[in-house]
Structures are given as structure tokens and as C-alpha cells.
């Protein structure tokens, strides 16, 4: 199978510019430069690339909203969303540490396609090794004339800067990220206006996930058809899938879109000895629980949605039978409550409330009506009620957990304590 991403990957000793170029690197960008920006957009649309940041929005379509041509505002920006703070997700780090030039080439292609003249990598602060390797790669590309003015003798110029964040999950939300890049508090912004029109510093801006951008060199090098044939499912291309939790060999693999979760679990060697799978979150902390019975669902946006969850980042978290689902949900909700930006009421005050209840239940001090309130809070913070998707994301494991693990909740209340703790 083609591995457009991981073929370049070397975690111990990532390819330098020369090595990357000698294995076909920057060919995609060279091809792009020969095309009109709109043609590049078209090719990406034809490849049916979906954003890997979690929502799975069509990348080509997203770009098409950027004002183009003579009348378009002078400055436009491309931003790589490398804020990866979704608990249980570590795919972007893998790509950036292992193949920094791949991301940079992807960004150059995207920037060219939308006519951006400045690009930023918004990197989460904890990713120190990524920062070093990316900066090195940027410097190399700059020295080789791949970045800067009149790239490869063309009319096109691009500056690329690395910004390291000071840590905040909400910075991953694209409009909050824009505020963070402007040096402000990372509260999300209302849409419309969409960032494609009014974004960073009030100018047209595209924010794409790191993995999304890493897919571009392959598409531009080998064409849209090649890309769509990597998988034979509903979604095109390959995806970095992975799994963590109490499995034998947690890790990441580049696989065709639509690979089943069971296959991923098998690649990880299955659950650790003596443990069985009780549930799994398909793509990070903000996705709904699924059960063992769902393991054969193809990892595709629609298919996963159909069984009641979201593909999210595609990196699975497995819950085993020795760990308490209530405890797990409490841990997740604590994260979300802490990371709420504090802008809208349901999230800011609803999540801590849920944490307060879960804490009591987990400690054996919960009551029956706590469950009712918890249930109501799920509705209170659901999609459409909050300002951004953080709180609804937080509700996903909670509401599905309350459904699938209702007995566990009940036991906590009936036995005034956690059955998993003795």
C-alpha cells in the first residue's frame, strides 16, 4: 500500500532537506508552482481530502472560500494547526518529529493555493523536539531558496514562521488559535465571519491541521486519482491511526481510510494479558464511547457517525475492564472543565458542575438525582448551545458513557463507592 506520509518518516533521525528531496520531496510543490492556485485547489478537491483536525471538512472546499484574484485583500495567511492537545492523540507530533520537511512542503502548497504570503506553524508548547526539528527544517528550506522571495524564480514569495504556544487546549479551535496568534486570550470568535474571509489580523486565513497539510505533497506529486485509490472506502487517502490504553503495543500506523478499529487493535497486539476491552473512544477524548461490538466499523467519518460517535482524530483510546468507566469519564471531564476558555456560560459553569457531581459519585457520595442533573447537563452543553465545540465534545464521552455504563454509575450510588477500587 502507498504510504504518502510515513514513507518519509524517521523518528530517530529525520530526513534533512537533501535526503527528503532525494526521495521525491518538494516535487509536489514544484508541480504546484507550475499550476494556477485555483488548479491546485481543484486538485485537492478532486482528491476529496478531508481535514484531519477532527471535523473532517473537505479541504478543497474550505480553501474555495478564500477571496482570490486582484481584488482580494493583500495579505493572506496560512496557519498549520499543530496544537495537538486532544487527550489520547499524538499523531501530529509523530509526523512533525519524523518528517518535518513533509509538513513544510504541505504548507507551501496550501499557502500557494490560497495565495498566502505568510504562514505560521502554531505548535503546542510542550512539543520541544518538534520545535527544534521544524525550525531546523525551516532554516534549511530558507537557505535553499524554497522559502522567501520569488521561490524557485517564480513570482511567488512566502515567509514561514514557527509559533510555540503557551499551552491551552482551546487554542486548537481555529478561531481561538487565531486570537492566540494575535497575542490575545484564546477565546473563540463568532462565525460568520469565517476565518477564510476575516481571520488572522482581520485578513483571509486558512487553518489546517498538521496531518491534513502533510497529505498535500503526495496529492500534488502523484495526482488526485492516485490519492483516491489508496483506500477503497468512502473516504479517500490514508490516515494515521493509532491506539493507546492498556493494549500490548500502543502506537500509530498509517493505514488506508476505512480500516476497521479491530484491525488497529490487532496491530497493537490486542489488550494486555488478563484484560478485556470494555469500550473505546475512536478519535480522542471528545468522541463518544463505542463498545467491542462496534470494532468492525470502518474508521470513516460517516460510518463512525452512524454507530453514534465521531472519527475525531482517529487515534483510539481503549478502556479495559479493570478501570472504572466513571473514573475515566471524570478524568476526561476534569480536563475539559479546566481547559474551558471561560467565554460561554454552559461550558464555563456547566463542566465544573458535571465534575463536581462525578467526583461525588466516584467517591460514593452520589445520589439518584445527581444522575438526573448529570443527564440534564448533557443536554445543556450539547451542540448548538455553546459558543464553540469544546463543551459538546466534552459531553460526548459523558452522555455515551452514561448510556453504555449505566450499571457502573448505578453501582457507585447503590454501594456508595467505586466497585473498581477495593
Amino acid at each position: 500500500m502507498h504510504k504518502p506520509l510515513s514513507q518519509y518518516l524517521d523518528l530517530a533521525n529525520p530526513q534533512n532537506l537533501q535526503a527528503y528531496q532525494s526521495t521525491g520531496g518538494y516535487e509536489g510543490f514544484t508541480n504546484a508552482l507550475k499550476m494556477q492556485p485555483q488548479e491546485v485547489q481543484q486538485q485537492v478537491s478532486d482528491a476529496k481530502l478531508k481535514g484531519r483536525g477532527g471535523a473532517g471538512f473537505m479541504t478543497g472546499m474550505k480553501w474555495s472560500f478564500v477571496p482570490m484574484g486582484e481584488d482580494a485583500p493583500k495579505n493572506k495567511y496560512l496557519v498549520c494547526n499543530a496544537d495537538e492537545m486532544e487527550p489520547g492523540t499524538f499523531k501530529d507530533r509523530w509526523l512533525m518529529e519524523g518528517a518535518p520537511h513533509l509538513l513544510i512542503e504541505g504548507m507551501m502548497i496550501a499557502a500557494y493555493a490560497i495565495g498566502a504570503d505568510v504562514a505560521y506553524i502554531f505548535l503546542r508548547g510542550e512539543y520541544r523536539l518538534c520545535a527544534t526539528r521544524l525550525q531546523q527544517a525551516i532554516d534549511e528550506a530558507q537557505a535553499a531558496g524554497l522559502l522567501g522571495d520569488n521561490i524557485n524564480g517564480s513570482q511567488y514569495s512566502l515567509k514561514l514562521h514557527l509559533h510555540t504556544s503557551a499551552g491551552r487546549y482551546i487554542c486548537g479551535e481555529e478561531t481561538a488559535l487565531i486570537n492566540a496568534l494575535e497575542g490575545k486570550r484564546a477565546n473563540p470568535r463568532a462565525k460568520p465571519p469565517f476565518p477564510q474571509v476575516v481571520g488572522l489580523f482581520g485578513r483571509p486565513t486558512i487553518v489546517n491541521n498538521c496531518e491534513t497539510l502533510c497529505n498535500l505533497p503526495g496529492i500534488l506529486k502523484n495526482g488526485a486519482d492516485w490519492y483516491t485509490q489508496i483506500s477503497d472506502g468512502a473516504d479517500t487517502g490514508s490516515k494515521i491511526f493509532g491506539i493507546s490504553g492498556r493494549v500490548k503495543n500502543a502506537g500509530l500506523w498509517e493505514l488506508p481510510m476505512g480500516t476497521s478499529a479491530r484491525h488497529i487493535l490487532e496491530l497493537a497486539g490486542g489488550m494486555q494479558d488478563g484484560l478485556t476491552l470494555r469500550g473505546w473512544l475512536p478519535g480522542g477524548a471528545s468522541t463518544d464511547f463505542l463498545l467491542a461490538e462496534h470494532l468492525d466499523t470502518p474508521m470513516e467519518y460517516d460510518a463512525i457517525a452512524k454507530v453514534g460517535s465521531r472519527m475525531g482524530t482517529g487515534v483510539i483510546i481503549a478502556l479495559d475492564d479493570q478501570h472504572c468507566p466513571v473514573g475515566m469519564i471524570l478524568n476526561l471531564l476534569q480536563f475539559f472543565a479546566q481547559e474551558s476558555c471561560g467565554w460561554c456560560t454552559p461550558c464555563r459553569d456547566g463542566l465544573p458542575w458535571a465534575v463536581e457531581i462525578l467526583t461525588r459519585i466516584e467517591a460514593g457520595q452520589g445520589s439518584q438525582d445527581d444522575l438526573d442533573v448529570l443527564q440534564q447537563l448533557c443536554g445543556f452543553m450539547w451542540i448548538g448551545k455553546t459558543f464553540c465545540a469544546l463543551a459538546p465534545g466534552a459531553v460526548e464521552p459523558l452522555r455515551s458513557g452514561m448510556k453504555y455504563f449505566a450499571d457502573d454509575f448505578q453501582q457507585h450510588i447503590d454501594h456508595k463507592g467505586c466497585p473498581h477500587r477495593h
Binding site: N75, P87, G88, A166, I317, N331
Partner: protein, 181 residues
């Protein structure tokens, strides 16, 4: 949000006046100026500037805050709003070494609590505290992005993965400090 401004009042009527050149080093100023050049506006470099100064001085004192605000042409209050928003900016002194222990889901599934308890007991501090000798500060951190090697922590920015009691002990020994008696 602290209650005193440590800047000398040079003004008769009591307005605190800060000149960043009196507070920040040449190196810091150069690094911040470089960041400023990467954005459309100076205040956009606020987070970078805070990180630059913090990497030199471990934390952001009120004095640093006022100086950075002056340098970026923004108010100290506004900069405080930014500084207190982000997890990795310290507005309180921290120790020589900072341990960020991951407390998110994959590490929870790998019982990070055992590691926490052990660290807490050995160092005699809780999350958010610094040992009396000023050597080590212990902080919780959200998912460090190494869920395949849980539990994990970050020591002074370096990842330490697959933790167990033994590796913690040798880690602490390497730091030779953290006495809190």
C-alpha cells in the same frame, strides 16, 4: 492580580513608570524584537515575549510583566490577562527544575496516580508546590502527546516516558535536590 506594583514610582503624582530597557537584558530585548518582526502588530508577540523572558528567569514577575508590556506598547493589565490565560506561563516563582506530570486519560489508564503519590511523598509537596530548597516544582499537565508510552512526564521541557517508581527515583536522584524537610 497581585496587589503591589514593585516598580519604583518616579512620578510625583504616583503613576508607575517603567522603562523596559531598565529591566530586560539585551538578549531578551533582541529576541522579543525578532518575534515582533514576525507579526503585524507588536502586542501579537506577547506570548512569545512572555516565554522568552520566562526561559531566562524561570517565571514572570510583576516587574517582568510591566517591562514586557512597556516594550510591546500594551497595558500591564491586558498583558496580565494574556499571561494568566496560558498554562505554561508562570506568574509565581518556580523551582530550578519543573516537573510536568501528565494527568490525562492514557496516563490515567496507566495509573499515573501511583506516580503522583510517589513523587508527592518523596518530595513532600503537592501539585503546584515547590520544594523548600527551591529545587523542584511539581505541576500537573494535560496530555503530553505520548500516550503510547504512558505514564509520562516532562522534566524541564524534556519528555520522560514509560514511568515507574524506579525510573522516578533515579530521575530524582539525578536532580540531587528536592529536599523539603
Amino acid at each position: 492580580m497581585s496587589s503591589v506594583i514593585p516598580i519604583q514610582q518616579v512620578d510625583l503624582v504616583g503613576q508607575p513608570i517603567v522603562n523596559y530597557r531598565d529591566v530586560l537584558s539585551g538578549k531578551e530585548i533582541a529576541a522579543i524584537e525578532h518575534e515582533c518582526s514576525l507579526y503585524e502588530s507588536r502586542p501579537a508577540a506577547a506570548i512569545d515575549a512572555l516565554q522568552i523572558v520566562q526561559s531566562e528567569r524561570r517565571w514572570i514577575s510583576d516587574e517582568s510583566l510591566y517591562a514586557i508590556a512597556d516594550m510591546l506598547g500594551m497595558s500591564a493589565t491586558e498583558l496580565e490577562g494574556v499571561a494568566t490565560f496560558y498554562n505554561l506561563i508562570y506568574r509565581h516563582p518556580v523551582g530550578e527544575h519543573v516537573i510536568h506530570l501528565c494527568n490525562s486519560i492514557s496516563c490515567w489508564l496507566h495509573d499515573y496516580q501511583t506516580i503522583t503519590e510517589h513523587l508527592s511523598k518523596t518530595l513532600n509537596i503537592e501539585f503546584g508546590q515547590t520544594t523548600k530548597d527551591g529545587k523542584i516544582t511539581l505541576l500537573p499537565n494535560v496530555c503530553l502527546g505520548c500516550c503510547d508510552k504512558a505514564p509520562a512526564l516532562m522534566l524541564d521541557g524534556e519528555l520522560v516516558e514509560n514511568l515507574d517508581i524506579k525510573s522516578i527515583d533515579s530521575l530524582l536522584q539525578g536532580l540531587r535536590g528536592g529536599k523539603n524537610a
